[in-house]
């Protein structure tokens, strides 16, 4: 299995090289955190879709993983779907993990990181699967959202009926409610998918000259054909683009490690010293 990291968002080109303290307190660039997760899942071939000017920067941040990377510049970009489609030649028909670079994924399972959990699920299902996370209605306008039916006897697994990109809360309430979810919560994308060759064919068919190509419509087409699953993982995603998103991600990561008490003590001190 291969992996594709999309990191070409024109507004957040610096995020992949953003350094965070990992759970043990070691400073690690975000892209390396993702590559570390992929390696643990046994994935050694990774393509990074990037802005044409950023390739070298990312390679440098990837340090020991740089040899595994295939850098694919996205010139003349036309949306997220277009970025994914650029990786069609790289995957060569193999299933691949698609991971967005502006999120941080933290697993609650000490044995398996989030990528590992999803890859295992894919291997069991042999069907494209997207990780999802219950997302409050106040946030749904920032994510792709799925609706579907729970797969019986498989907790947290859904057969996806529909995918909508950034729905309004009204749309979400009308179309995206999922049995078993708390009221006001929807299944928003987590930022990790395991997909196959089919997605490229759909993306190609949906491509129109000069217009933006989204991934959600293509995933919706997969869902319409009954070929997409969604899964709740033992973990959380943090959207680094959100307001104070980076801070939240860093805090969560620091609190998930061995130095939790020290970090908490520091937090209390900051609280006491600031107004």
């Amino acid at each position: 299995m291969k992996a594709v990291i999309t990191a070409a968002s024109p507004q957040h080109r610096n995020l992949p090289v953003q350094t965070l303290s990992d759970p043990k307190g070691e400073p690690v660039p975000l892209i390396s955190l993702h590559l570390r997760d992929l390696e643990a899942a046994g994935i050694h071939e990774v393509a990074v879709i990037h802005h044409p000017d950023d390739g070298d920067l990312y390679l440098e941040a990837a340090s020991q993983y740089r040899q595994r990377l295939t850098m694919i510049p996205q010139d003349n970009p036309h949306g997220f779907g277009d970025a994914v489609l650029r990786a069609a030649g790289f995957t060569e028909g193999e299933p691949f993990v698609l991971l967005v670079c502006d999120h941080l994924f933290l697993s609650r399972d000490r044995e398996k990181n989030c990528v590992q959990q999803l890859v295992e699920l894919y291997q069991r299902l042999q069907s494209p699967v997207s990780a999802v996370q219950p997302t409050h209605e106040s946030q749904v306008t920032r994510f792709g959202v799925v609706a579907g039916e729970p797969v019986s006897q498989a907790s947290g697994l859904y057969k996806v009926r529909e995918v909508r990109e950034k729905p309004t809360p009204t749309e979400a309430e009308l179309h995206m409610r999922v049995p078993g979810n708390r009221s006001g919560y929807y299944l928003g994308f987590f930022g990790i998918h395991v997909l196959g060759e089919e997605i490229f064919r759909i993306l190609e068919s949906q491509q129109e000259a000069e217009s933006s190509l989204g991934l959600s419509p293509a995933l919706n087409e997969l869902a319409r054909k009954g070929h997409l699953h969604a899964a709740l993982l033992e973990g959380s995603r943090f959207d680094l683009e959100a307001e104070y998103g980076l801070l939240q991600a860093q805090l969560a990561m620091a609190l998930s490690g061995p130095n939790r008490e020290m970090v908490l003590a520091d937090l209390v001190r900051v609280l006491a010293e600031t107004q």
């Binding site: 209605e137 106040s138 309004t168 809360p169 009204t170 009308l174």
Partner: protein, 1161 residues
């Protein structure tokens, strides 16, 4: 119970009349017990409501009728149990607080005879009826809140949870002003609502009945330069201040909202609809109400720091009461604009998708519930294009009893009924199916366009009571109503077929038949004399060119349709306008007109609600202000908006102008090439004429002079009022006054009825009795303060002809005349409001009723006193609204009422407490000074002298109020009065719950009538068993003696108004008047403005009342007044149009039809 629970329509839909017809009193009492056990135990809303309405019917109509007929249960009932027994005070309180279930429990705790006692069972009837309606209203509210797609807004309680963001294109590029998003929405015409089947719970209970054909139209007042346009326009833009700026161009109202509390205060100003739109669109989600967060924080989240929104509404050329659902469609328009701007509707410009229309419609329903306005289930039809069939859906989304073949497939969005509604068979939101293009060819739509003349008759009556009556009849399965409903549904199918085949003439025949058949059968009050005469006259004048009539909405009189031969349609418009003007003149004083009638040009709207984004602030040529694709709409809006804003813009110091105000001024500069005149006119408005319109050609001061205004008395009352010596609280008797109830025994005939009859018939035959009808007042409750003459209101369709109160009274006198064989004198008292109109009526009387005029000598007694209303004091308002116990309303209505009251208290403070009320048309500033003056007026204006000269035998007057329709010269009662020798005999009736305002009491040992507001404590009234009808037999000589006069004195020509002894007469009247109590009362008065808009203001006035003569007589040492109990039919007063249905059901209308039929001939 069998009917309630049966699944078989043949059993379940039997009418209540048929169910109770042959049942004995014992069986009915057992039925009551069964229903009483059933309603609290069932979870099914519809069964519960129907059981409650059955109980209401039994207690309101069936049981009282059986008891009155003398039936008694087999189980022994003590005689005293049937005696009047007051409703317990705690039950009264529970009813006021809308705790209806508790009230029922408290009344039933009085014992099993509670069901047999008229007073107690009237309390039960009220409680059951109110509880049924409360259950229904709660259910609709719950359904609206829980409608999928609306729920999230009730969960958002904090600005940080606001998920919406402004669309980036709503923000300006570079140095330009932010663009305007302009939404235009049609209004809807309602071809057939299948007998009000668009009432929410009716549609949800029986979706198979709920069928409506509804057409979206653009309008213009006939002959206007612009031609038809979508009447509802909303405009939205981002502004550079963190406020919500709301503007209504047609109401000329503007407000800047800076805090959340003000936004949820719907009645504070005229902008409630705009506020409801912002909330229902989720810009300020309803869940934010009551949160202590700031509005700027929410706006910053939505729009970015320092920004706000300006929302403008503009209803073009449609007055209130149009029956075109203007407010719902304007709300839809405003909501659509807000939803587009926040990305909830996909496209910023162009039409809406079907799903988006459904969401907008659902939000409009929510907005109406929030804002307290009423809207039907189909009213947002203007959001959709063209003609459509709107049908009720079952909860699973399938259309009930589809009218179209093939039936459209159910969409997913219909299957959205919540668990809480599991008991409802139907979904809240109906299904819209476009007809034009699919089921109806374009040629038919075009033919309809060419044949229809839309008019506004000028009446703006409240349709609310009609809807309540429809609901009640539906729940009772009233036999006539039920058949009419089926016929109506069939008619809708036929109308659809006629439209499909393009046979507009057939369609016209059907809509006419529908109006005169099923609609009038369901609710006779949907029609009125004006409408029916208009149809007759149009039909007579246009002959074959007139194809039919079409009632547009819930009732006639406002917006209506006339269908004509298309070849003659345009040419006939002037003739129609002429008929409307003439009829309005004829009925102006009799029916509540809000404006002059108008005819419209119209066109069927084929795009539905549609928007355009207009970048108006870009520097450049004047054309930039008129961007494509809809230049006229944008241009017209900008012109109107700037015309309205310009005066305040130029008043502002240049340095303090906001960025958007500077953009607006630049725009004025550019547009002034074409609109200089309009802009100038807005800056220098024409001064209005000193005298106001509204039928008054004289100024207020001239009117006061003419109608006998006593300035000295007025100033004295004002001083007393401001000093707190008189006022609402001071009306009350001393707290230590001893109040006792009077027993029935004291009110029975004291003589043998046969003897009474003999004496009475003899007196009538000798011409010793005359009628005295009080018609000086406006009957403010009848037309909600509209200032029309109640006496002339043709309200009752007797044998198909609308008759007025006065006509019915005159006919009863004619009947008495036939029976007695003499001519009966009948005096009608008039006042400043009514004299002219009643005078005109009297002029036509011999010609219109030749058979009657020979038997009845109708004379007028013009009023000789008038008062000038005063702005209320805050003390009195607080007393009336906050100290006296108030009826509790529904949660939202309560908020609205409180908000209105706060606004009115601000108004009173600003206008000056106790100041003269002059800010209205002059006629609305005057007030009648109470019916005590009516008898002295007979002396002062010479009427009594005239009567005594012409009818020397005359001895007794029967005084009665215009709305006491049962009052008549009954020989038994007349004989009793004569035998008793009492100077005055007052008629009283056993009190029912709804009879409020005082009654018969023993006050410190003296039996007298006492007004409700004069009783020491409010609860004293609840202990009184008998209610004052005001009907009073007056011994003329005895009353003259009270004034220190004799018949001889009065007949002295020098006593006439210009005679030498007239001051003696005046002094006599003044001396008795001074000993009568002066009551201060709070009245509601309407102020009309704009295009059919109305405000209601509370004003203070004073009055002296005839009932107080019952206290005056004993104080003079002579004989006391006598009191007698009469039947309800005789004593019932018709104060409120909502009483009409019950009045008909009790059989009074039928009684009049049967007894007066010959007299009319």
């Amino acid at each position: 119970m069998e009917s309630l629970l049966s699944q078989d329509p043949a059993l379940a839909d039997r009418s209540i009349e048929s169910l109770v017809r042959d049942r004995s009193l014992d069986q009915l009492l057992a039925d009551c017990r069964g229903l009483e056990d059933f309603w609290p135990s069932t979870d099914n809303l519809y069964l519960r409501v129907r059981a409650l309405v059955f109980l209401y019917y039994l207690h309101r109509f069936t049981l009282p009728e059986l008891i009155a007929r003398g039936e008694r249960p087999s189980q022994e009932v003590a005689v005293e149990d049937l005696e009047p027994r007051p409703i317990p005070l705690a039950a009264h309180r529970a009813l006021q607080l809308r705790n209806f279930a508790e009230a029922i429990e408290l009344i039933l705790a009085e014992g099993p005879e509670a069901r047999l006692n008229l007073t107690l069972s009237s309390g039960l009837a009220t409680a059951y009826q109110s509880l049924a309606l409360q259950n229904l209203a709660n259910q609709v509210r719950k359904s609206v809140r829980s409608e999928t797609g609306n729920q999230w807004m009730f969960r958002i309680g904090h600005p940080d949870d606001q998920p919406l963001r402004i669309h980036r294109k709503m923000l300006a590029r570079g140095g330009e002003g932010n663009p305007w998003l302009i939404e235009q929405t049609a209004v809807r015409m309602d071809l057939s609502h299948s007998s009000w089947s668009d009432i929410f719970f009716l549609g949800m209970d029986r979706p198979e009945f709920a069928k409506v054909i509804n057409v979206s139209v653009d309008l213009a007042i006939s002959g206007s330069a612009t031609g038809p346009v979508p009447p509802c326009l909303s405009a939205l833009r981002v502004i550079d201040r963190p406020v919500l700026r709301l503007v209504s161009l047609d109401l000329e109202s503007v407000a800047e909202i800076t805090d959340l509390a003000a936004l949820f205060d719907f009645a504070r100003d005229y902008l409630g609809l705009l506020k409801a739109a912002l909330i229902a669109a989720g810009i300020v989600p309803p869940g934010m109400e009551g949160s202590r967060t700031s509005l700027d924080r929410l706006l910053a989240r939505l729009l970015g720091p320092g920004r706000g929104l300006e929302l403008v509404s503009w209803v073009r050329d449609i007055p209130k009461g149009s029956r075109l659902a203007v407010s719902t469609n304007l709300l839809g328009s405003l909501i659509a604009a807000c939803m587009r701007a926040t990305g909830q509707i996909q496209n910023l410009s162009g039409p809406l998708s079907e799903e988006e229309r459904r969401v907008v419609a659902s939000r409009a329903i929510l907005g109406e519930w929030l804002g307290g306005s009423g809207g039907g289930w189909q009213d947002s039809g203007g959001v959709w294009p063209g003609a459509k069939l709107i049908e009720g859906c079952f909860a699973d989304g399938n259309i009930a009893n589809p009218m179209l073949t093939p039936s459209p497939a159910p969409g997913e969005e219909q299957a959205t009924v919540e668990d809480s509604l599991a008991e409802a068979r139907g979904a809240l939101l109906p299904r819209h199916t476009r007809l034009d293009g699919n089921y109806i060819p374009e040629s038919s739509i075009a033919a309809l366009e060419k044949s229809l003349v839309l008019i506004h008759g000028g009446m703006a009556a409240n349709v609310g009571p009609i809807l309540e009556m429809v609901t009640e009849r539906y729940l009772l399965r009233n036999a006539v109503e039920w058949e009419a409903r089926q016929a109506s549904l069939n008619c809708t199918g036929q109308i659809l077929e006629a439209l499909r085949s393009g046979n507009i003439r057939e369609m016209a025949r059907l809509t006419t038949e529908h109006f005169f058949g099923p609609l009038k059968s369901v609710i006779p009050w949907a029609s009125n004399a004006f409408t029916e005469r208009m149809i007759t006259e149009v039909s007579e004048e246009l002959g074959e060119k007139f194809w039919g009539f079409w009632m547009l909405g819930g009732m006639s009189g406002g917006g209506m349709g006339l269908i004509l031969d298309p070849k003659a349609c345009e040419a006939c418009k002037p003739a129609i306008a002429g008929i409307l003007r003439r009829l309005k003149r004829d009925y102006e004083k009799a029916l509540p007109f809000a404006m002059d009638p108008v005819t419209y040009d119209f066109r069927i709207n084929r795009s539905g609600s549609s928007a355009v984004l207009a970048q108006t602030g870009s520097p450049g040529s004047r054309e930039a202000a008129q961007p494509d694709p809809e230049p006229p709409a944008v241009g017209n809006f900008l012109k109107e908006y700037l015309r309205f804003q310009l005066p305040s813009l130029v008043r502002k110091h240049p340095a303090s102008r906001t960025p958007e105000e500077r953009v607006d001024l630049n725009l004025v500069r550019r547009l002034s090439f074409d609109h200089a005149g309009e802009f100038l006119a807005s800056l220098v408005p024409e001064e209005s004429a000193a005298t106001a319109a509204g039928g008054a050609d004289m100024s207020l001061d001239e009117l006061l002079l003419r109608h006998g205004f006593d300035r000295q008395q007025h100033e004295q009352i004002r001083d007393d009022l401001q000093a707190g010596r008189v006022g609402l609280r001071q009306n009350r008797l001393h707290p230590k006054t001893h109040i006792e109830d009077v027993s029935r025994r004291e009110l029975q005939l004291q003589y043998d009825p046969g003897d009474c009859r003999e004496v009475g018939e003899k007196a009538l035959a000798e011409g010793r009795c005359a009628m005295l009808t009080l018609a000086a007042g406006a009957g403010s409750r009848w037309t909600k303060g509209a200032g029309v003459v109640k006496a002339l209101h043709p309200f009752a369709p007797l044998d198909g002809t609308f008759r007025s109160f006065l006509e019915i009274h005159a006919a009863k006198s004619a009947l008495s005349s036939r029976q007695a064989g003499v001519r009966i004198p009948h005096v009608v008292t008039t006042g400043y409001l009514t004299h002219h109109a009643i005078g005109q009526w009297l002029e036509q009387f011999p010609e219109r009723f030749p058979g009657m005029s020979s038997g009845v000598d109708v004379r007028l007694s013009p009023g000789r006193s008038v008062g000038l209303r005063l702005v209320p004091t805050l003390r009195d308002l607080r007393y009336a609204w906050y100290e006296l116990p108030q009826e509790k309303l529904d949660e939202q209505a309560e908020k609205m009422r409180d908000s209105v009251r706060q606004a009115l208290m601000r108004w009173a403070g600003e206008a000056g407490e106790g100041a003269d009320y002059r800010d209205n048309i002059p006629m609305q500033c005057l007030h009648p000074v109470g019916h005590w003056y009516e008898v002295p007026n007979l002396l002062l204006n010479g009427t009594l002298q005239g009567l005594l000269s012409d009818y020397p035998n005359l001895q007794v007057l029967l005084l009665h109020n215009i709305d006491t329709l049962g009052a008549s010269l009954d020989p038994v009662l007349l004989g009793h009065h004569l035998l008793s020798g009492a100077p005055l005999t007052y008629e009283v009736i056993q009190r029912k719950f709804e009879d409020v305002g005082g009654g018969l009491a023993r006050v410190n040992g003296i039996t007298r009538l006492v007004e409700g507001f004069a009783l020491p404590r409010e609860e004293d009234e609840f202990r009184l068993s008998f209610y004052n009808t005001l009907t009073c037999w007056i011994d003329i000589d005895a009353v003259l003696r009270l004034f220190g006069l004799s018949r001889g004195d009065l007949l002295d020509p020098e006593m006439m108004p210009d005679g030498a002894r007239f001051p003696e007469l005046q002094a006599a009247v003044r001396s008795v008047a001074a000993r009568m109590p002066t009551y201060i009362t709070l009245k509601e008065t309407k102020k009309r403005w704009g295009r059919g808009q109305e405000d209601i203001f509370p004003v203070l006035q004073f009055e002296r009342l005839w009932g107080d003569m019952s206290a005056y007589l004993p104080s003079q040492g002579g004989s006391a007044a006598s009191f007698i109990e009469v039947s309800r039919r005789r004593g019932q007063q018709l104060k409120d149009p909502a009483q009409l249905d019950g009045w008909v059901r009790e059989g009074t209308l039928r009684w009049f039809e049967e007894h007066l039929r010959d007299v009319w001939k």
